[in-house]
Symmetry: D2
Subunit: 349 residues, 4 copies
């Protein structure tokens, strides 16, 4: 149920409605738009019925009461009355007219690799730095990441370059260590429906980048986001990274239709990861241009000083030496869709 308050509603009237909703056993999520206040009354079927029976339509300050049409509530565009969420990650905006360029190595390997990459991508205009310390690997015998040592190197790279850090959390047991370093917590595709992990990230309040599962529908992705949002964390970015189809000419099939459709369904920013879909460096640039042109709010891309010597996913990582040219091309494509690199002036200042 969505309670739209009048523009003239007083703070007290809003508080009254919130109390009534909570009294009925549902959660009351207040969304402050630029003009309107909207209160989402979120609950299970029974709680929904209780809220419906409160007669909030007649309440002072209430403009109207509407059902939320989608199975996801807080993630829906309806809930914000069409306003888009703009995140602010340590000064870098994501969403609206702000394009995020998140770059860095697949995996943190060494101080030298990390610092070299961090400087290269910062200088070329990247707005955030990515790097994996914990790696979910199909094989238990494959390199699982540097762990805490990797996190420390990420912290050092941030200290040197000022770039916010995006890194993956895959084990609830690592949550404290990861939260010390991550400005954005990444949830990988395999954990998209790991509900205890999603709830934990929700409770942390930390901005999250939620990757779409290999064969998850958009509805399922938005329901997974809802697990985070429901815990009171509104800072969620969705990420398309390729789906599994019959075609095996490429690792995954990047589904760029997901971008405009997600933005029609939800107010959350949508990021595209071309590296994992392609699995090959030469496809990354054309796919990045396409992602920017289709209206994505950002790209997360893998960059390495010497990809041929990378511990993992070497073939898909861009060369750090070629990243500046890449970034300029992406910037132009983003401009076609009305977006500019976020916080670039600040970085170059």
């Amino acid at each position: 149920m969505m309670i739209v308050m009048k523009e003239t509603a007083t703070e007290e009237e809003v508080r009254d409605v919130v109390e009534k909703i909570e009294g009925a056993g549902a959660l009351a999520h207040r969304i402050r738009g630029s003009r309107l206040s909207v209160i989402g009354a979120i609950g299970d079927v029974e709680q929904d019925a209780s809220v419906a029976s409160l007669g909030l339509e007649g309440q002072p300050g209430v403009d109207r009461v509407m059902p939320i049409l989608k199975p996801y509530k807080l993630a829906s565009l309806q809930m914000t009355h069409g306003e888009r969420t703009v995140l602010d990650i340590d000064g870098r905006k994501v969403g609206g007219e702000n394009f995020a360029l998140i770059a860095g190595p697949c995996t943190v390997e060494s101080r030298e690799q990390m610092m070299q990459t961090a400087h290269a991508v910062r200088d070329a205009g990247a707005t955030m730095l990515r790097g994996g310390a914990y790696k979910p690997r199909t094989s238990p015998y494959a390199f699982q990441g540097l762990g805490r040592e990797g996190l420390m190197l990420l912290a050092e790279a941030k200290a040197e370059t000022g770039l916010p850090i995006v890194t993956e959390l895959m084990d609830i047991g690592d949550v404290d260590a990861v939260m010390e370093v991550a400005d954005v917590v990444q949830i990988g595709a395999r954990n998209m429906q790991n509900y205890p992990l999603l709830a934990e990230v929700g409770r942390s309040g930390r901005p999250a980048l939620l990757k779409r599962g290999l064969s998850s529908t958009l509805d399922e992705l938005l329901m997974a986001a809802e697990y985070i949002l429901k815990e009171g964390n509104p800072n969620v970015m969705l990420c398309e990274r390729g789906i599994r189809t019959f075609e095996n000419a490429y690792r995954f099939t990047l589904d760029l239709m997901a971008v405009p459709v997600l933005k029609e369904l939800s107010h959350l920013p949508v990021i595209v990861d071309p590296s994992h879909a392609a699995g090959r460096r030469d496809l990354v640039t054309p796919l990045s241009l396409a992602a920017a042109a289709v209206g994505a709010d950002g790209i997360i891309v893998e960059v390495h000083p010497e990809p041929d010597e990378a511990i993992c996913d070497g073939p898909q990582q861009l060369r750090a030496s070629e990243f500046a040219e890449y970034a300029r091309a992406v910037e132009q494509a983003a401009a076609l869709a009305g977006k500019a690199l976020a916080g670039k002036e600040r970085v170059l200042a």
Copy 2:
């Protein structure tokens, strides 16, 4: 087998090699590049062996003899030594730096609808006119197209606007009628592996636009193109139009990765059809920008003066009144990938 002639090879030396290949029972396809002559010796397993035993390596004028690595031969980029095919459709180029904008209604419905659309898309910079006279329909009870009457209206629209016509052939029985009007013969997705039809189009020599089947791999698409090329018709455009995946938030999943990968495998131009993938008007513009940015050689898009009254596929057709704005946006995106609308100056002249 691919026989690369020396730059200094004489016409007679080339002819000698061709004769030897034909003597061994294989087809000799001569490809004239800008610098080199290459002769493809194409046959089944036995004929390949016969050609291999000819000892062409030592032949005068022959630079080297190489196996063709892909199952498709004439369609492979290897065969042209990396040179791209540029088609010339009645003065409009497709391929290389030339971007084709093919627009028109899903189905020819009436003179008024056809002429209105033809003028609108011509004035906005479209390089060719599309329209269906024969429609492959899932249901035998659905409208099957105006048939010959539709072809006549297409011919009339061409006479008025000068735009070359792209229209679908689905029944070998209609080949004469269609060839009277079509500058480009479209093979629909459901007929991608209708081999007698492909061979017929091959024998006609008429430029063909070959749509990828709903669940065809890129290799299969190229093998289907090979059926046309093998008959001596080099004028083939490939067309990505969405594949079938688990996702049902949209009609099909437009596979834009296919564009750079097809261009890596083949010298043939690659066109994208955003209308059928999306099934919804509001997705057509972002997908078109993405298609142009990813490096497509053109777009084929549905346009109607009054989509709400269209006989079929109304919801996905662009409004003719909004097409000029659309065309400008697509032009900018194509420029990002180094391409310009083909023949535009001529149209506007």
Copy 3:
């Protein structure tokens, strides 16, 4: 629209209704069940409206008039009031409690191969003989079948063993030649939506085995069947042969859920082809048992005297010498679902 006649309706009353329907421009398909006569009034949207306005409900002999709920009409189980179609192919029944075991080589290669296989499968209880004279091949350079010579060998095998022949038609140009020999015309998966071919087979009246396309939904398969039925040919068998999925551990993914669901939607018999799905001999037996147990009306399976020397698809063909054991196992599995090998007594007599 479906007009259910009373049990007591006279022949004249039925004829009156048929005339009225035809007068309204629709087709009147009469279906004679064991107790009831049902008349399907089939047309496009406008003709449907005309029939609806005839007021047939009040007509003498008419019990009731009902809409047909599915997009396919003649193929729907509703149209036959739940009665199942039982085909009679030269004395061998298919459908109901009759299980068809259709066996033979992928491709007709030689007289010896053909006769050896025909005798082996006949002696083991096969009810029909399959063999390809025209082969749809992904590559234009692959063996395309023996053509008319192959058809002659099939005719000879029938003369020797008495087994009805199942063989594929892929080119309308071959229709006369194929119809001389085929007791059942097979439409391959790639031609499932080749509508001119379907209509041609419909007009021929010859029993048809229609294979599901690689990525066709059940609704699309039934709509394709409708193209045949609409021309007045009620003798259609549907065939599940594996669909395309992300899994590449096998050639296709055999979709056995299709069997009970097709039988719920349609009165037509459903056959399973385990050979093409599996692509490997060792999977054919377990899949055949599963197909019989799940309720299929038959199996079409590839058998060769010496699979290792087969021209095509050798690895998936059963050895003729092991076929008798296979047939016994399939028979037991079919018995679980209440079915017996059709016409076996006659063959063994």
Copy 4:
């Protein structure tokens, strides 16, 4: 690396080899077959190289040293030299000639529901009892299971009927509570690549039923099993429960080809879950017969006393009153593949 010991090898010789492997940093997994001892030396790329350099071929008692060809090692059939794993769950065998019939409600709802179902399935020959206390739900607003109260009811049902309990673990935080009750820990499809959870189950040593992810390849499923096996827990059952395809006539597409192929790749038993694939009661019986006929080692199926009043997944649950008839039919189908219900005599005794 796989070290196959001679039949005459002494315990000391085996121990020597184990020590050498561990000295090289790899894990030494000893597999005791009926005749042979095999030692798997399992490690990452570097450890593999160390083991290879040990020269174990010449070692006393060693017959031969072979590479393990698959990316999964302990899960591979090669590792056990073709011997199949037979689990013993509290006296009920699974694998080999033993067929497991695991039945019970989707979700534990109440004492009455649980006891009624438990008795019904026990009396009909079920070999284990399933029931969910923790339910992974797409929506955070959906019923999430009774939790500990549900576990207590499962324990009670086991005490009354003697049936071992199969129940899902989805949160590492619940591991102690679940392990108190579960004879078999189920890992759901969404958690198939939740590696910390897999490792935890591995360390527990408790038999595990690992469900295939919606779009996981067989290789990925076996790699997930490897995460459990690697921790020293050999008691893993694989479970096919339907994959995601383009077809939307049913919830998922049950992939029965997975059964014989998994059994060719791995020594682990393979169970089929027809309920979640079908989503509809009427498909459960035919799919169960097919699963048994194709060679599955068991079925896990949902049963409810009054499915129409079930809290979740009502439409797919079999009626408890009809379960006995169902069990008899499944038993017959399993017999076709050479298997008998495990432990039935004991239950009925």
